[in-house]
């Protein structure tokens, strides 16, 4: 199976009055075609910035991005248009991700018009209706404006838009965090069905560990711009090794009254302008040793196939 996406030492820094914000600080990643990759991390860890850099909505500060073996790191506007067909993004907030002045039909027709995906207007309309039905919506939703739709419906339009370009790789930025639990179930099942039907590769980012576990083949855990653990989802979920991963998993309340939170993470995430010396998790780490404050740990492969960035291994 070939790698649909490969990133090498990708960095994205922002300039702020307080200093350089190292939002993404050296990420290596390979995504296989057909897999679902889940990236988990709390706010400020850089996961949103990472996918936007990969999608070239932001320009990388350093490193390389390969999409289907093409180096897209330095693509300019004209070349970028083509990759917008191959990778797409579903946004977190359904209430702000649709243009309020465009009907559903207008929104969904843009991908066809930009990339010439239909021979004529009739064919495009058929395709749009097909997409709507695939999302569990009706033909009549075409004439609606976003404010006439519910959150769940809006999110489905956002997904339909991402699928309309006929991508190979779809990114999801917290796709259900703004939705109710009952709607979440519908969306997740829909996405699962769609992935199988169109042979897509999915890249989810979320702070919801349970969501990531349910949907992913492989997961990665990010902290302050760096990848601290990455590997097979079940392996990591059953037995997290990195102290941050362990703490994070233990901080998620379990919907079972007999299981209470124990050994949750302590402290707060430091500012990305001034990350700690050495391992940037060391100040909060219950298992930190001397080395942790001096030297930054690199990702190392363990026997079970996963990689961890920690001096304890």
């Amino acid at each position: 199976m070939k790698n649909i996406l490969e990133i090498n030492n990708l960095k994205k820094y922002f300039n702020s009055p307080a200093g350089s914000v190292k939002a993404v600080d050296g990420i290596d990643l390979k995504i296989k075609k057909g897999e679902t990759f889940g990236l988990v991390g709390e706010s400020g860890c850089g996961k949103s910035t990472l996918i936007r850099t990969i999608l070239r909505l932001l320009k990388p500060s350093y490193g390389q991005i390969f999409l289907n073996n093409n180096d897209i790191t330095n693509y300019e506007q004209s070349e970028l248009k083509n990759i917008r067909k191959e990778m797409s993004l579903v946004f977190q907030d359904p209430h702000s991700s649709l243009n309020p002045r465009m009907t559903v039909f207008d929104t969904l027709s843009r991908p066809f018009k930009i990339h010439n995906l239909a021979k004529n207007k009739e064919e495009m309309t058929v395709e749009i209706v097909r997409l709507l039905k695939l999302m569990g919506l009706q033909t009549e939703h075409m004439i609606r404006f976003p404010h006439e739709l519910s959150g769940g419906q809006k999110q489905r339009i956002g997904i339909a838009r991402a699928l309309a370009v006929e991508p190979e790789l779809v990114f999801f930025d917290e796709p259900t965090s703004a939705l109710d639990v009952s709607v979440q179930a519908k969306i997740l099942k829909l996405l699962d069905k769609t992935r199988k039907e169109f042979d897509l590769t999915y890249f989810y980012i979320s702070h919801d560990i349970n969501l990531i576990r349910v949907v992913s083949d492989r997961i990665g855990v990010m902290y302050l711009g760096k990848m601290v653990e990455i590997g097979d989802a079940k392996t990591i979920y059953d037995k997290p090794k990195h102290p941050y991963t362990k703490g994070l998993f233990k901080s998620v309340p379990v919907p079972d009254p007999d299981i209470k939170l124990k050994d949750a993470l302590v402290g707060e995430v430091p500012s990305p302008v001034n990350p700690p010396q050495g391992c940037n998790f060391s100040p909060r780490c219950p298992e930190a040793i001397d080395k942790c404050q001096k030297e930054e740990p690199k990702l190392k492969k363990l026997d079970d196939g996963r990689r961890v960035a920690c001096h304890l291994f």
Binding site: K189, D208, I209, P253, V254, P255, I259, L261, E268, V269
Partner: protein
């Protein structure tokens, strides 16, 4: 255990340009003293409106149509604004909200914010203020409290601001705290710390808490009892244990089974067909009937009342 608050048949509507929005359709909640009572429901079900009704903090277009809110035997709905301000808000009833950023006054230092509460509700001399403030801040496990006093809200993180909010509430020494989606905007690790603080306080102070949220996992973490709300009605009231082991109402059952737990697989996820009704024009009878597989004729005509089916377990359903 006695009930410190009884909400009986509360009906609240809002006048909007599209008509009357019938937000609360006869809400019944009984909260036992000293417990953490969860109020769970999805967006738009009316849980926030319920919390604000207790505090008399509803918007101008709100109309209280029927019902009573009995707190320690007194009906709060009969109190004037002045009575609520002087006698209830702060010292008896306190509320913390979702967004800690907008609840703190940006031009006051932390010490000043808390001073207000202490001055109003604790009868002590001015010299003791600082000590009380430090004590409250320590209760919520805020680090480096002495330095914190001079800081302004914008210098604190979201989690710390939320904890300052709790400290402010505690400084008032309330008997009844309403927390409205207090952790929704927080990161998982911050939420965990916040819940731990609440749990610790539960043991120390004899406070009753109405915890409003859409997150069932949080309810399982800190609550003893829970009322399940759907489209303006309480459909079930039960212990948290029963909620996860034996949910009776069709909606509660589906809700619990659409959760993502550590063992769930996508195939297991239960969908609820249809969507939440618009409360401008709610379905007649039981408001859940359009989405219920077991709905019968009576469900379309008559709203089911909450009836007791076991000790500490009531359900509002014609089919149960």
């Amino acid at each position: 255990m006695a009930a410190i608050m009884d909400i009986n048949n509360l009906k609240v509507s809002f006048s909007t340009e599209e008509g009357e929005l019938k937000a609360l359709n006869g809400v019944n909640i009984s909260i036992k003293e000293g417990t953490f009572h969860g109020l769970i429901g999805e967006t738009g079900c009316g849980k926030s409106v319920t919390g604000r009704s207790i505090m008399a903090l509803l918007d101008n277009n709100a109309m209280i149509k029927e019902g009573e809110i009995l707190y320690k035997g007194e009906n709060l709905l009969n109190k004037t604004e002045k009575e609520m301000q002087d006698n209830y808000r702060g010292n008896e009833l306190a509320m913390i909200f979702q967004d800690p950023g907008s609840s703190l006054n940006p031009v006051f230092t932390i010490e000043n914010q808390l001073q207000e509460s202490v001055k109003m509700y604790r009868n002590t001399s001015k010299s003791k203020y600082r000590d009380i403030i430090i004590e409250e801040l320590k209760k919520v496990k805020l680090p480096d409290v002495e330095n914190l006093l001079e800081k302004y809200p914008h210098q604190l993180s979201g989690g710390m601001k939320q904890r300052v909010m709790i400290a402010m509430m505690l400084a008032c020494n309330p008997n009844f705290l309403i927390a409205d989606e207090a952790t929704t905007a927080l990161d998982v690790s911050i939420q965990a710390q916040f819940l731990k603080v609440l749990n610790d306080l539960k043991e120390k102070l004899q406070m009753t808490v109405l915890y409003i949220t859409h997150d069932l996992a949080v309810i399982s973490e800190i609550c003893d009892y829970v009322s399940v709300m759907y489209a303006g009605n309480i459909v079930e009231e039960l212990t948290v244990d029963e909620l996860f082991k034996n949910p009776v109402h069709p909606y509660t059952d589906k809700l619990v089974h659409s959760l993502l737990g550590p063992e769930t697989q996508i195939e297991d996820l239960v969908e609820i067909p249809g969507s939440v009704p618009r409360l401008i024009d709610p379905p007649p009878g039981c408001r859940f009937h359009p989405r219920c597989e077991e709905a019968k004729e009576i469900c379309k005509k008559e709203r089911p009342k909450l009836k007791k089916i076991a000790e500490n377990h009531s359900v509002a359903c014609h089919r149960r």
